[in-house]
Symmetry: C2
Subunit: 156 residues, 2 copies
């Protein structure tokens, strides 16, 4: 039971690579990324509430959501779904509205490991190496780690 | 009258930077990127026809078009418009359908140089350095160069 987030932040290139395994079948892990009522139960750091403003999970669709921290702070995010291939791949843009135009491009792939287990692989590419570094320094890793622990619960 | 395309393909990072100046005001250059009836008159290499299948030039919109070469070969392209800020910025995804999932993220900025002149700056970020290199080797530069020469005509 040690499904850890593995994050790789290579020097001098603008991306972050990560992997995370889940004790759940691909269809369930994918559905938890597609269904906004599920997404809002796990995405983001512990203690945050998530309001989904817009969610069109399809090729050429777009999304918008707001995270609220326990002190009432609000953080808006938005992006476009470039590619959605069921149980396989999502390619999307991602922007924290508080850092306008620092848009990232994210590639997610869902791998069937057999025995009802799934590996999620991700690459998030920033506009610049500095922008990528700022994203890492903003506490992205702990937010991801906490979100995926909650996703484990959603999947159970 | 030497408005050349300047392309910078730095080693070991996945992006291409370019600049191109135009003897036309920002509003006109931007409009030639927004209006699909104008876009189809200049985008792509010489001798190609362009059919716009879908074009929703707005935040969260999407596009799809097909280039036809003189021998009848067809090349599909599609993407999402993440950000459209009039006369200023376009941030969009870009995919050649013949190389599925090799999606790039493109940042275009339109700068007013005064005297009715405009500088277009672009950065196109690929999924990998190798993917970026493959795009460059596919003749991207000559296609862009030829397209911008036609854009000069559209603007006149």
């Amino acid at each position: 039971m040690s499904n850890e987030l593995h994050l790789d932040v290579p020097k001098d290139v603008p991306w972050i690579d990560f992997t995370r395994e889940f004790d759940a079948p691909v269809a369930a892990v994918f559905d938890a990324h597609r269904d906004p009522d599920k997404v809002r139960r796990w995405l983001g750091p512990h203690g945050y509430e998530m309001d989904v403003v817009h969610w069109e999970f399809t090729d050429g669709g777009a999304y918008e959501y707001v995270h609220r921290d326990p002190d009432g702070g609000e953080y808006g995010f938005r992006g476009s779904f470039h590619t959605v291939r069921d149980d396989e791949t999502v390619i999307q843009t991602f922007e924290f509205v508080g850092m306008p135009d620092q848009v990232a491009l994210e590639f997610l792939t869902f791998e069937d490991l057999g025995d009802g287990r799934t590996r999620l692989r991700g690459r998030s590419i920033g506009r610049t190496v500095e922008g990528r570094d700022a994203m890492v320094e903003s506490g992205m890793e702990s937010g991801m780690r906490e979100g995926y622990v909650r996703l484990d619960s959603v999947l159970r």
